[in-house]
Assembly symmetry: C2
Homo-oligomer: 653 residues x 2
């Protein structure tokens, strides 16, 4: 390059980046040198048309530029032919891979040409995710084979290095097996899918744009999968199904126990969840109108037990002290090593890291989606299942704990408890004046006192949110004392209350209203079970607050399905959550699944998730000497030890 | 470290390396810093006892050292206890991991403590190979799990980094699955097998020394496997079997054709050879008294078609111009990805690189074993099968070619031809004076004229070396002319020759001498087939010589089974090989297998093999315009175009 080579000013909008570039450089190369990535799959072969830019005139800082279009090399025949074939108006748009800078130029990189597109997550607030997947497409034309030439794979590597600066690549054995036929089918032109810039997963003949991934939240009850277009970030299909491991154990500990005690237990649990993933992938692909083997990247999240069972790791250590994980770092593994078959044979799987034995990859997913570790406010996130996982922190510190709430909130160990499904009583009101009891069931918008004569809601049982409201309403109606016992002669205060032996119970739905034809009641034992569950959760939260010497949180986020159903006021009344401005208590839905989707769309967020996971301090609250006292204190309604200014204000309604 | 820290001189024998080391450094660490690796698996845990050194007194260069033993820290209780338990005399030997330098010291690192031990290859000359396998053992004690600890794998990584300087490790999924149980079985002490310093393949509880590998030459006819101890380099067992692909096609081209034309052809060929490898591995392990899953490293060599079929790559392109390889670089792949099961689940396979479409990994194995690419002499190596592969060169240049000799030398397309097996006529002599014909068969040391009356050798046919000798002997007896035709009235010159129609034939073995009860004859057509085969081989050699403008070679090496059987003199008489001092024509046996073994024992040789393969220039002789002329010239006996001074001298015997 000569010393006095002419340069021109190139200004790139909307980023505003600018610099002096040598005369004759393509806009694509010049932009790359200035740190602006323009989308390009074919890298100058006039095949993909993704690298369009718009020359503009205007004033930028000190530079007045008045003839951008004229300061780009005029279109040659090839560009004209491509533009004609694809309906591109060359006075408005140019292909940056062939348009060369021959004078000062201002160009706009339109959104669709920007490598890092943005999508907005809609559920529970918004979050911008730049689309920067772990898998990317590269179109290349490979030198044909000749006598004594290097192998086909070596010549493909040469083409990828020369056109896309990819070096030191490896190739999946399955891709290698198809390489020769594919190169010849494509007349030596192929589109290559590369994972993390280092492993060739897939080779397709000619120019293709198919790039899809699957993000899956493997819950112990429900498995939900999102099929995403990895070029746009769009969700093309969402599929969910019950985790088939349920047949081997309703809750996590019973599955751990199954794996420990049954000869083929681990294999059965592993195969069941993998089979489910295969079914979900196939179904999602079908709904999106793509072939399953077009899926080349998968992200999985799940709690620690799910994480281990997915990887075929014996969860036995998670069932006993000190709850040792086999590994807590993120895992990258070939899908086929996991037995995932309804995806491309070379597809990769990324599993988010875990935090500790009972704070798993699902919680890291939540952290990734909520970004509370980047927030000034003190946020509490609780994800309630058989265990409640607790995250508490700000940008400066982050604590986590797990509390053994037991399955009461999932409807288990409650006389007429059931899962949150159609027919379950989810809302309950008791009029403090009249004592009238009314309820709502999932799947019907009406209250039980809004029906026509003779109609009933045919409830099948009561789910977690319903049982919380029963306890809160009984308390507010003065029918329960602070210890959770029915007050003396409660049956005189409310006609729906009666004594069965020495303890009272609430007849919530009479036999003739229910689906099963049997009365649905809430017993003193049911109330006690709710107290134990909320006491365990609250004790965990309290001990984390104590650790930082703080009394209150700025914001409470309720994760998971249960978090979406419960009413924050009632939850606060029974002392399930600590005091907080009620407007700052929000349900965030399946935030773990959102985190999986973010990690699928953006490979840099995987690194961020890993760092976040490692920055969380895990507090084994149950092992603290004060846990038992805190737990006992927390059994009361709301609790003996705490002040609830927001609640007192609200209860005065 | 203080500026005025005391140092002492440490001299290490037999390498003679020396340097000043800080007071109190262990001999192991100090030696490592001086570039001398002392064997150590446990790295100072007083478990393996491999790091013994002998303190010595003596004069070294300017340093007279007179109290080495006293200048090492005295043994502590732990070292004394270990020495007592293992019968080590601490006045003679010390453990370098705990003995610290406290004064000037001269120590000898005995051969068994040197990391790079030497073994000598015995077949066809000697070659020193330092034992430096791709897999190595590391003993570590891992911090036990505690509440909130990092995962077991992460703590194992910490231990490996701290004790053995291993960083950035990955772990095989199968090893991860066994990790937790293994750590607890070993009470947190484990021995880890690491491949290439980067991937953990295997984890065993406690301290173990098992480290085995398998080197396999996958020939199109025979598959031969050597099971090696990767700590000593010793061959513990050798197993061979016929390549079961033979049932799908006798020669390579018929197997390529089978893969092309049969629906499941490729899969059948692939599975057949993989099944054979599994059988050989299991049999070799059984003979060596180890378990198959103690094999953690495997090296494979084979010609290009075998190479492709091993990897499940369709060989179709190798059956047609331009003979394009799917890949010609070395391949590292998990054994289980190939379907190899009779080895450790995490075991790795290394396949040597190929040179070109018809010069495969077996030839690279030959190059590695013979090191002709490092030699001053001009060496010709020929490996004769259905194709003959030719390597020609010196340290400065190396050429290769492949010549389509056809299967004549393997006994095919010869009237009574057969493979070289027991019963085959392998030696033939015709007395020029008396015309008497005698022969020898494989498996019997006697000539046919040395038998008792009534006895016969019961030949079953004639193999490649036999047919070469027949042609050479007929020519030397004046019964064939230079063109290979029986001279006029040959039947009058020798009673064993008779005319069948217009062409003559030699009655080599009468019907009453043979196993099948039928006469064994050599026809004019058989002689023509030998001429075509030797002409093809010779034309290839000639064209390579021409390319360098040279007439003669310094040395000829005959590789493979056929090369071991043929007599150099007879081969030169018929013009199979060019002129050369007969003492410099040697059979090198299964040099490809030797190369595989070298690559198994020494990971650096794999890199060397790759460089060697890439330095070889492949010459597609058949595509040269002069090939046909050269080939036709080469049909004559010896040939029309060449001078054979050595031969003329010898034929004057």
């Amino acid at each position: 390059m000569s010393q006095n080579q002419r340069t021109h000013r190139l200004i790139l909008m909307p980023s505003g980046r600018q610099g002096d570039v040598p005369h004759g450089t393509t806009v694509l190369e010049a932009a790359r040198a200035l740190g602006v990535e323009i989308e390009s799959i074919c890298s100058g072969r006039l095949t993909c048309g993704k690298c369009q830019i718009a020359p503009e005139d205007g004033q930028f800082a000190k530079h007045a530029i008045s003839s951008s279009a004229g300061h780009l090399s005029p279109p040659d025949d090839a560009e004209r032919a491509f533009a004609a074939a694809h309906g591109i108006d060359l006075s408005q748009r140019r292909l940056s891979c062939v348009a060369r800078v021959i004078g000062d130029v201002l160009v706009t990189v339109p959104e669709e040409s920007q490598t890092r597109k943005q999508v907005i997550r809609k559920e529970a607030g918004e979050i911008a995710v730049e689309v920067m997947p772990a898998v990317r497409l590269y179109y290349v034309e490979v030198e044909p084979a000749y006598l004594g030439s290097p192998g086909d794979w070596e010549r493909l590597q040469t083409a990828l290095a020369e056109n896309h600066h990819l070096r030191g690549l490896t190739i999946d054995p399955a891709a290698l097996q198809r390489l020769q036929k594919t190169l010849r089918q494509g007349s030596w032109a192929v589109t290559v899918t590369v994972w993390q810039g280092r492993d060739v997963l897939r080779i397709e003949p000619g120019y293709v744009e198919s790039l899809y991934g699957l993000a899956v939240d493997v819950g112990s009850t429900t498995i939900a999968a999102h099929l995403c277009d990895l070029q746009t970030g769009d969700v093309l299909a969402t599929e969910a199904m019950m985790n088939p491991q349920v047949r081997y154990g309703e809750d996590l500990l019973s599955r751990v126990s199954y794996a420990m005690t049954e000869a083929q237990g681990l294999q059965r649990l592993n195969r069941a969840v993998i089979r489910a993933l295969n079914e979900l992938a196939a179904a999602a692909a079908g709904n999106a109108g793509i072939k399953p083997d077009e899926i080349t990247d998968v992200v999985l999240v799940g709690n620690s037990v799910m994480h281990h069972l997915l990887l075929g790791l014996d969860p036995v250590e998670l069932g006993q002290l000190p709850f040792a994980l086999a590994t807590y770092d993120p895992v990258d593994i070939k899908a086929r090593e996991l037995g995932l078959k309804a995806v491309h044979p070379g597809a990769m799987v990324h599993i988010l890291p875990c935090i500790a034995g009972y704070v798993g990859a699902d919680n890291v997913g939540v952290l990734l989606a909520e970004q509370t570790h980047l927030d000034d406010k003190i946020t509490l996130i609780v994800d309630i299942g058989t265990n409640a996982e607790i995250l508490l922190g700000t940008r400066d510190w982050m604590l986590s704990a797990s509390s053994p709430t037991g399955p009461a909130f999932e409807g288990a160990h409650i006389t007429h408890g059931q899962r949150a499904a159609a027919g379950a009583i989810e809302r309950v009101r008791i009029d403090p004046q009249t004592g009238a009891v009314r309820y709502k069931v999932i799947g019907d918008p009406r209250w039980s006192d809004e029906l026509e004569t003779g109609e009933t809601l045919r409830p099948t049982g009561i789910c977690g949110s319903g049982i919380i409201e029963v306890v809160a309403e009984l308390f507010m109606a003065g029918l329960l004392d602070k210890s959770g016992r029915f007050v003396p002669e409660a049956d005189r205060l409310n006609p729906r209350i009666r004594y069965a032996g020495r303890t009272a119970e609430l007849a919530l739905a009479p036999a003739d209203e229910t689906a099963g034809g049997k009365e649905i009641v809430v017993t003193q034992a049911d109330i006690r079970a709710v107290q134990l569950a909320k006491g365990a959760l609250y004790a965990g939260v309290r001990l984390l607050l104590n650790r930082r010497g703080i009394e209150r949180v700025d914001r409470i986020k309720l994760a998971g399905a249960f978090g979406s159903y419960i009413d924050p006021l009632h939850a606060m009344i029974i002392g399930l959550i600590p005091d907080c401005d009620l407007s700052q208590v929000i349900a965030i839905g399946n935030a773990a699944g959102d985190g999986a989707r973010i990690a699928l769309l953006n490979v840099e967020r995987r690194e961020a998730a890993w760092l976040a996971a490692r920055s969380v301090e895990y507090v084994e609250t149950a092992s603290l000497a004060v846990f038992q006292d805190t737990f006992v204190d927390a059994l009361a309604l709301p609790h003996a030890a705490d002040v609830f200014p927001h609640l007192e204000h609200l209860m005065a309604r």
